[in-house]
């Protein structure tokens, strides 16, 4: 759908120093080589799309960026300085926020409690230190309104939200806590048409605030709608990064599937894929 709706805001600055730079990242799980040397970087205010088929290693790659996995080999630089995250908390504190494929939301808990999970605002001292519920509720409502979602009440359980709304809560949460880099793992894969364009609009809004967005998807149209740069992963490897305008959607599609096979398939399906 979003092929004709673009959320693009012009060419990114090219001379800027990347916020995060990953060099020759390898990750092995026992004898499985999930990543075989991937390089990648994110600039402030850009949307860098990471594309690839199922099992290409996209989730694994961003998990090394967000401190969930330690890379087997390779280096990570944050603002030019080498970094070594040992937990998601480390990465979060460094300004790298991740919205995981499974969203890290708890359906039985309220939107507010999810929003501030692990980083609850407090008031009072010592024994009387308690959660500042009013502040948390107000901040949640406000952040959600900014993202264009009107909540019934901050007590509403996350389980009652639609997929797109949940995705937006997760993104709003990351932005609220001052993310410099926002990683979104397939935020649109389970969404319908309107929900998808809402999420894409949210990505654009976040990018305009100067946040570097890493957008993972296997849908080329979604990538083309918002992306500034595109990196394709295939079986744990990358063939490099293309800038917007230097590559067409069809070329990306081919790269994702590994070239020839896709061309053959496309022929037999009459170019409908």
């Amino acid at each position: 759908m979003a092929g004709d709706t673009t959320f693009h805001h012009g060419a990114p600055k090219t001379d800027a120093q990347p916020i995060v730079q990953m060099r020759d990242i390898e990750k092995h799980f026992g004898n499985i080589i999930a990543l075989a040397g991937v390089s990648f970087d994110v600039l402030a205010g850009e949307c860098h799309c990471l594309l690839g088929d199922n099992g290409a290693g996209k989730s694994t790659f961003i998990k090394t960026m967000s401190g969930v996995h330690k890379p087997t080999k390779g280096e990570i630089f944050l603002n030019g300085k080498p970094m070594d995250f040992s937990s998601p908390r480390d990465a979060m504190e460094a300004g790298i926020a991740t919205v995981f494929q499974d969203l890290a939301m708890i359906p039985l808990m309220s939107v507010t409690r999810n929003f501030f999970m692990g980083r609850e605002p407090t008031k009072g001292k010592w024994l009387f230190k308690r959660m500042d519920i009013d502040k948390a509720n107000a901040a949640t409502m406000e952040a959600m309104r900014e993202m264009g979602i009107k909540l019934r009440s901050p007590d509403q359980a996350v389980g009652t939200l639609s997929g797109g709304e949940r995705q937006t809560v997760a993104i709003a949460r990351a932005v609220y806590f001052g993310a410099k880099v926002l990683i979104l793992d397939e935020p649109t894969s389970a969404l319908g048409v309107r929900q998808t364009s809402n999420v894409l609009a949210t990505i654009d809004r976040v990018r305009k605030q100067g946040v570097g967005v890493v957008f993972i998807t296997h849908n080329v149209r979604h990538a083309m709608a918002v992306g500034d740069r595109f990196t394709v992963l295939n079986r744990g490897k990358t063939l490099g990064t293309a800038r917007r305008g230097d590559i067409t959607g069809n070329e990306l599609q081919d790269l994702m599937a590994g070239g020839q096979e896709m061309a053959a398939l496309e022929g037999s399906l009459g170019g409908t894929v």
């Binding site: 708890i106 039985l108 409690r113 308690r130 993202m147 359980a157």
Partner: protein, 368 residues
Amino acid sequence: MADVSEAVQDERLKQEGFATKLMKRPELGALAGVVAVTIFFLFTASDTMFTLSGVMNFMTPAAQLGILAIGAAMLMIGGEFDLSIGSMVAFSGLIFGAFVVTFGMPLVIAIPATFAIAAALGALNGTIVLKTGLPSFIVTLAFLFILRGASLVGLKIATGGSTQLRGVRDAVENDFLTPVFSGDAFTGLFAWLAKQEMIDRFSSGMPKVPGIPVEILWFVAFALIATYVLLRTPQGNWIFASGGDENAASNSGVPVRRVKISLFVLTACCATLVAIITVIDAGSTDARRGFMKEFEAIIAAVIGGCLLTGGYGSAIGAFFGAIIFGMVTIGLTYTTIDQDWFQVFLGAMLLAAVLFNNFIRKRVTGER
């Protein structure tokens, strides 16, 4: 685009009534249960059940169970079970008894020392569960037997062959801490009330109820503190999060391991508090102390709205769950009903609570 979705959202908003909101509270079922049981006994039991002494009569066992049930509820909300609570009561009772009788320690030393040992065992339970990733159900089942057996063996060693350790009352009689853990509170107030003829009294002028048994105060205070922690502190939020989805919680920066181990320590300490109260009260300890209490505590927690899957429940619900327990156990003696119906009632209550909780959870999560 945002505007469109806002408009659509708005027209689909249905005002949420007070009743619907109440429906979503986990403790609702337990509260309804208390009302139902009260009505039942108002019709079937003799009038003495709801006199002041009758109420104290069923609140005392309710309090002893309730302290365990609230601990169990918090652990269940955190996503784990502890089947060793009952055995822990026996084991802590033995340790405490041995400290005061065999070693002649004063309570200021014996009580913290007993709590320290219990806390260490709770932490051991938790560490094994978290390190191995085994279900806490099975790990604590092992401790159910280990601690029960150790209590038996320990008692025999401490007493030279008996399974009962006596002499606790004599040992603590004059200790300044004894009134904190045993006997009645507010005796002055009750004596005064009796003098004013505001409460029942014997012909001698003494009140029929000398005061509020201290365990009831512990029970109420613990329920209030636990509720406050769960609903109003970051730690409470971490407990819900850890039980709701361990992975999501830790990815969001919640110290899940620390939360869970603390909860195992808490249940062990609850068991110890009950052990100290009941051992001083009885003046002795034996290996059957706390027998089957783990199940009763978990049942009370479930009646109180805890989901077996974790992440949902309440301390105040467990509070009411324990009161239901106390009312039914003691209440049946005020009726002409055969007391052996108790277990039938218990099972039925549990089944009803689980079905009800399941229904509530679906409502809360909007069937997704």
